[in-house]
Amino acid sequence: MAGALLEVAGLSKRFGGFVALDGIDLAVTQGERVGLIGPNGSGKSTFVNCICGTLTNETGTVRFDGEIVNGLLTHERTRRGMARSFQLPRPFATLTVADNLRVPLLYTVNARPGSALSAAALDERCAELLQLVALTDKATKLPRDLTQVEMRKLELARAMAADPKLLIADESMAGLSQSEVDDIVNLLIRLNERGITIILIEHIMRAVMKFSQRLVVLVSGKKIADGPPAEVIRDPEVERAYLGQ
């Protein structure tokens, strides 16, 4: 697809003899909201890790913003505008909530040519982000003082602090209550309205259906469906993968 923000072609990854990903193709256009689903062990997180550079894919190319990013380290990809949140929140435990957001501002936004922030602008951005995820009154707390849902929000806010073009949210709602899930989905939609392309990886179908404009299904390392959500979940192959034959 011409003009795609993220373009993955023929991506494969194996761990020893186990093929985790087998020739995945995926193109995501600017501003899109894509849901990525699949049973446990289908390779969703591995796929994210390959896109972000945490793992190295054996074959295939990842093209981001018109540039092939194969071989770039994770922090270099983050600086180019690719941010992710982790499946299990991984906050910086000894830094305060505000400082957790300061790190990507210092190391990503400030590291981009021509976008260095002054000390005051940094504080302002921190405050903005905290407000966005409603954590303003927890700014000086340590991550261990946060609740589960606040921790997920911090995780998303930290990814957002890098001022990304593409946000990959890896199961950011697992283990949350219904109202908390709605909370996060609304947050993600708000972010998308600001022009950020989002890939959401999720098991909670209610959230995926509400969020996604397009749904991609991975099963045992292969992409088996890709299209409008309502059609994809009626696909017999998808039903078979989830419900058995």
Partner: protein, 314 residues
């Protein structure tokens, strides 16, 4: 700016310490004081890598000895004043630190610690077999008795080490408050998340090993003049490796104050024990205190105080 204020304050404190020591007018004060100051530098240097980034270095003695042996080498090959030898010692150990970092920083946790220990063994073997710097026999450094503008030579060495203390504490405190400090803290907390936040983790770890190694080498450079006779087993001594880990751990590893408190406390205790009991009891004291602190106060004295203050706030 605040770094400059800190520097001025610590220079003032150092001046007070120096003149107070001169008031006592006893060479032993300088002799014992030098050892304590040297441990402050070593503990602070260790903490930049071990405390800030969380990479435990068991090879402090090797960096210290590299500084000391570069002095022995240049003392023989091309005599120079000690301040320049200190800089050379810093460069040598900084380069060793960078090299060690490059080779080992892909290792984590216990594996990194073992690699640093191995480095110490390798370097000691090299020095033992290098005849020019005395090999296993050791090397004598004859130092002058006095220095014209100051008096006894030991006071000169004391003053140099005091300067190094000021320098290393200022560097440590500056790092803590800078972008570098945030980067180091993220490496300590979670390297994967750090990379995802744009932190170039490998590069920062190399910066940490280099600064840490260089400061240790600077602490070691005047040592041959202090001891007068340097042999591999004293320069690579276990006490340097153990003390430079134990002092920050007991003081607290997350801020520059911790190694300072730990080094003053343990260093003084050891000097007192050497005089009153015996010099062999030193490491026993360190070991017992370390075990006690790991069990009772894993975040050191600084951690204890911070916890106490948090409880008072509530």
């Amino acid at each position: 700016m605040r770094t400059r204020v800190f520097l001025l304050v610590s220079i003032a404190v150092a001046a007070v310490v120096f003149f107070a020591a001169r008031m006592v007018n006893n060479d032993y004060v300088f002799f014992a004081g030098y050892t304590i100051l040297q441990f402050i530098v070593l503990a602070t240097a260790w903490n930049i890598l071990g405390g800030y980034t969380g990479y435990v270095n068991f090879g402090s003695a090797a960096f210290f000895a590299m500084g000391a042996y570069s002095t022995v080498f240049f003392h023989k090959a091309f005599p120079m004043p000690i301040p320049i030898l200190i800089l050379i010692g810093g460069v040598v150990s900084g380069v060793v630190g960078f090299g060690m970092g490059y080779l080992t920083l892909r290792l984590r946790g216990a594996f990194f610690a073992i690699a640093t220990l191995a480095l110490a063994v390798v370097l000691q073997t090299l020095v033992v077999n290098w005849d020019y710097v005395g090999g296993s026999r050791g090397a004598y450094i004859i130092r002058p008795n006095d220095i014209a503008w100051l008096g006894p030579y030991i006071q000169y060495l004391f003053l140099l080490m005091l300067t190094l203390v000021v320098v290393s504490l200022t560097i440590a405190r500056w790092i803590e408050r800078s972008q570098l400090g945030y980067g180091f803290a993220t490496i300590r907390d979670d390297e994967l998340a750090a990379e995802a936040s744009g932190v170039p983790t490998l590069k920062l770890k190399l910066v940490a090993t280099t600064i840490s190694g260089a400061l240790m080498g600077m602490a070691g450079a005047p040592f041959p003049y202090y001891i007068g006779y340097l042999q591999p087993s004293s320069a690579f001594g276990l006490e340097y490796a153990v003390n430079s880990i134990a002092m920050p751990m007991i003081g607290g590893t997350t801020s520059w104050v911790g190694p300072l408190i730990g080094a003053i406390l343990l260093g003084s205790l050891q000097q007192i024990a050497t005089v009153t009991i015996s010099s062999a009891v030193n490491l026993l004291i360190v070991g017992l205190l370390l075990v006690a602190f790991v069990i009772i106060a894993p975040n050191g004295i600084v951690g204890l105080v911070q916890g106490w203050m948090r409880r008072r706030e509530k």
